[in-house]
Symmetry: C3
Subunit: 138 residues, 3 copies
Amino acid sequence: MPVYMEEKEKQWEKVEDPGREMVVAKRVSFDAAHYLPNYPGKCAQMHGHHFVIELAVRGSVQENGMVVDFTVLKEFLAYIVDKLDHSLLNDTIPNPTAENICLYIEKGWLDDDWGQGLCRLAWIKVWETEDSYALLGL
Amino acid sequence: MPVYMEEKEKQWEKVEDPGREMVVAKRVSFDAAHYLPNYPGKCAQMHGHHFVIELAVRGSVQENGMVVDFTVLKEFLAYIVDKLDHSLLNDTIPNPTAENICLYIEKGWLDDDWGQGLCRLAWIKVWETEDSYALLGL
Amino acid sequence: MPVYMEEKEKQWEKVEDPGREMVVAKRVSFDAAHYLPNYPGKCAQMHGHHFVIELAVRGSVQENGMVVDFTVLKEFLAYIVDKLDHSLLNDTIPNPTAENICLYIEKGWLDDDWGQGLCRLAWIKVWETEDSYALLGL
């Protein structure tokens, strides 16, 4: 075994490793209408999508073996979905591109102490369709 | 609210944020035959896959709320799929591993001004099966 | 064509590019029971998940057009699944959060020379549900 691996090995005398930096992420979906004002094409017409959001946060593994309880991410995402689901997104986000929806979600996270000092945003992904997404933070 | 969050807050007086760097990505699939010459195993025999490609580009959000129109990615991917779909990949890429297909797609992107000065390649992923992919750029 | 693209172009006189750094990844799933001791909620009760693991490794593309044969990743993942599938995870990992399962898999990789000098770990993802995962290494 090479030396660097022996060192790694020592680090791993037990599997649990409080203090190690990791990412935890959760996805949720919602359905909403939107249109893109001033867009030179069909997206200027009102239409709808089944949107999927992924929120990823980064932090140190705590003594309980978690960066942060998945429940925190779930509650935040429920808070966002409550604002956007079954709505016309333009009522909330004037120009609701996938990019701007990412930025809206980031603002929601930063407006309150969702990370509880345990984690910070790693990235936000918004899928407009199964094949298309915008990503903030990577 | 901690100071860094107040600063973040100021940055977010409005949600839209032209100039912010983000990634946008699109996926597409195609079906093709291939074989790996000189491979010591079953992959040396001609076989086929339902390939999935993800193209991700990085750039600043423009005033229109987009890094780049998803249509640009869609057109590029259609151009690639037109070359590879329902073909024997070896006719185009001599040794069509998932890695080399990534490199072929990168070459296609760089050969023309697909990014239109708005974005640059972030990564290319090629899934050979639902469970296996190669990734260039991350 | 801008100068940087001409330089890229020269680099791409042929598509194959031995020496280029890339990532290859493979996923596998298993079913297991677990409970989280000391967790203040329902996860303290024994329950089960359909877990999905993604192992990603990074290395240079070899002359054979591969970073490393997907078979190596497949064999390693089979080795891990053999230890965890249809078991009570707590018998192997005392506090089997998604984070600690990532760390367990990392230990398994590092304990032997799985990378064969060709590749090193890029990241490990463990999905506890279709919507929730922990990620080590990105």
